[in-house]
Symmetry: C2
Subunit: 453 residues, 2 copies
């Protein structure tokens, strides 16, 4: 049994829905279809979710939401018309949205969640109607009825553990289940949405709860690339990668799948297949628990800018039990989260995203580290990029580090920092931002040039 | 003005004292001579300090210390005889030691310190007597009279800040000052010794307090080697290195100078010259605040065994503010100090010395990390060696990492871990202990082969 999720661009028009239908019915194992709200049809188009947010904002400001309301309904109506569906379904969606607009607004965040969630919820009803019109048994299933219980956190709901057992019962339903992504219900029966990429999360939760063999995630790219195509021209596609590799890559700029969405599937060991709705015969990329390392040590290279390092040195630092912990506690008290802490004997650098700094915070941090830890030197260096070279195969591969650092040296890139954990699934290089693109290209050439299609 | 310190082997016999005298008088800037207790004359010989410890132990057990007492006095007497000194000085030392034996034993640690300190104290009197016999104005100066105030911690005294100003007054004394190393006096007037290499500490404190231009440390090697001579045959000597380089090297097995001893000199920016009493014309090694990098990026390579890594992985660890700090706090609660914390996105390794583990502690640590931090995986790997490649020149040298890691790869050494801070004064490689010697040799060949004498 497979759980299949389609993203907004896969559901943006009637023509796209026809593709979705063909994909689902071409494999009888595709039992559950998780749908997003209709996305953009062209680059200037508005997503239904964005229209709904504007609509909710107008309501909360006591302004007339009619224009946005109509725009939302118009999107559904256009799809219905394209697919020759009768008016009943559109009337149903219109009534639903109208009811939501009249809901209690005393908690604006809850009201916002109720409106946002309608994008997926109503789209699921529309998709189910279309599937039925095509002569297939298909049922819209509401997350409340299915038992998708979540915490009462607007825009950041977390699935509750008891939801999984209840979702398992969905296996007993007949026909194809069309399930709206992005939201669940609190114990009190209120709608709460997940964070960003919420439909991916829904699919992942359903795959876990229903013990699916595979979670298929249909999007609009053929596969995950081994490197950012804006840096390297026509890079190699990744056929298979592990959760850990995906996670390390997505950390530094890979955004095909939001990594938090994978957690429920990851915990249940269910593989995730990324495929293209517009090119379903392309093999796509499979995210698995373990894989054979047959394609060299490196599976992908990711990079991200906007880091800085706080360098702290103190003679005999190494002898002070608790120095590192106290340093991290100071940063934590400023609400800063950090990425890495490479260290020498008497120095330690803390790497963090520089967008976390509020004005004046840097000076305060330096002051506190100097006085509280009696540090000899505290220096903040800005505009660093982190480059992750990722691959489970690196673990058993003598010389990967040598190849990577030699490639960087040849490209004239100075390595500001290296951090390689004992996991050896990734190697991190810190370089200056101006060197980032050159560094990524050099590493790609070193590890992929020979195997590029 | 220079402070000159001589180690135990430089003062083990009359013949050695003659060398010391010639060295001191050959340079009128050598104003202060810090002396250790007489060391070994041959490899099976006993150091005076060790004899004194045995002597003190016997006293504390209410046993007869006569045999050890006589052995100590015999060492001084042999030197005096060799140098044709008259009996007065030996009688004086004998009386002093005899008085100490009768001191209060209610605090055994304080009694031990009082006896241990006599080795240096009485040797300073002997050396002063010999210098005077040679016709030079030389005065034994007692640390109490000079104001060398320390904390009342037996075997681990710390200099008090007010001592420095008082020691500056020594500049006004006429003649050569012969100053015993290894101990100072508490505010209550009791003797307390420094930790290991205590005479080096005394010299460093005097150099700071007296604002010396140079602190000369005479020992029994020509220079600091660039690598352990037990691993690499006839390695290159280091002419000049910075405090930071010395510190990083001494961390991993370089033991010519105990690094804590350098702190007072380091704080005052006073260079330290290491020289050989038995070959004073050899240039030795100079430890400086800054140096020109004229000899390639790497100044030395050190290695040390006996490390282990605690590998902790948790999916989405990176999003948890405070994860690293809480992990370090758990280790701290076991009294463990750690060396480095290389990390990936969802994993972190803590490198520490494995001799810190008490029996059963490992299991408890793993259990606590798993339950308190909800970690997915906790694995302890043993028998690791850390190799430090050290050099201030690495900072501006593109390609040092590439050269080092390529050399290791060519030697068939798998790099378990890399940690390079943004200071770039050192690069740390973690390897399996069985690979240590091969790795060090390979790195030495890479960075020193062309320049070896």
């Amino acid at each position: 049994m497979k759980v299949v999720k389609f993203g907004g661009s896969s559901l943006a028009s009637g023509k796209q829905l026809e593709k979705v239908f063909q994909i689902v019915v071409s494999d009888p194992e595709r039992k559950v279809v998780v749908v997003s709200a209709p996305g953009k049809r062209y680059s200037e188009d508005e997503k239904v979710t964005d229209l709904l947010i504007e609509c909710a904002d107008l309501c909360l400001q006591n302004k007339d939401p009619k224009e946005k309301f109509d725009a939302v309904i118009e999107r559904y109506a256009a799809i219905a018309e394209e697919l020759y569906l009768d008016d009943d379904i559109i009337n149903e969606l219109e009534e639903d949205l109208f009811r939501r607009l009249k809901a209690d607004k005393s908690d604006p965040d809850k009201f916002m969640d109720l409106l946002k969630a309608s994008g997926e919820d109503n789209n699921a009803k529309l998709v189910a109607a279309y599937f039925r019109k095509q002569g297939v048994e298909a049922h819209y299933v509401n997350p409340k009825e299915a038992g998708l219980l979540v915490t009462a956190e607007p825009g950041n709901a977390q699935v509750l553990p008891e939801a999984y057992d209840r979702l398992f019962e969905l296996r007993n339903r007949s026909g194809i289940i069309i399930f709206p992504g992005f939201f669940g219900y609190s114990a009190e029966g209120d709608v709460f949405t997940f964070s960003r990429s919420g439909s991916d999360i829904t699919g992942s939760i359903l795959a876990n709860g229903m013990k699916a063999e595979l979670y298929e995630n249909f999007t609009d790219v053929d596969a995950v690339y081994s490197v950012n195509p804006f840096i390297v021209n026509r890079p190699k596609e990744i056929k298979e990668l592990t959760y850990r590799e995906m996670r390390e890559l997505s950390y530094a700029g890979f955004t095909v799948l939001h990594d938090e969405a994978l957690v429920p599937a990851f915990r249940a060991g269910i593989p995730v297949q990324i495929k293209n709705t517009n090119n379903p015969s392309a093999p796509g990329t499979k995210i698995v628990y373990e894989r054979n390392n047959t394609n060299g040590p490196v599976v992908g290279i990711a990079s991200d800018e906007g880091f800085c390092s706080i360098y702290v040195s103190k003679y005999l630092m190494n002898r002070e039990v608790g120095f590192g912990r106290r340093l991290l506690a100071i940063l934590e008290s400023f609400g800063l989260s950090y990425e890495h802490t490479p260290s020498g004997i008497d120095d330690i650098s803390v790497i963090l995203r520089e967008n976390q700094f509020a004005p004046g915070m840097e000076e305060k941090i330096i002051e506190r580290i100097k006085t509280e830890l009696d540090a000899d030197e505290v220096v903040i260096e800005h505009s660093l990029a982190l480059i992750m070279v990722v691959g489970e195969g690196m673990r058993h591969n003598i010389g990967t580090t040598a190849r990577a650092s030699k490639a960087l040296a040849k490209a004239g890139v100075n390595i500001e920092m290296i951090n390689q954990g004992s996991s050896e699934v990734s190697m991190m290089f810190g370089v200056k931002e101006i060197d980032e693109k050159r560094a990524v290209q050099a590493l790609y050439d070193e590890f992929f040039a020979a195997v590029t299609v």
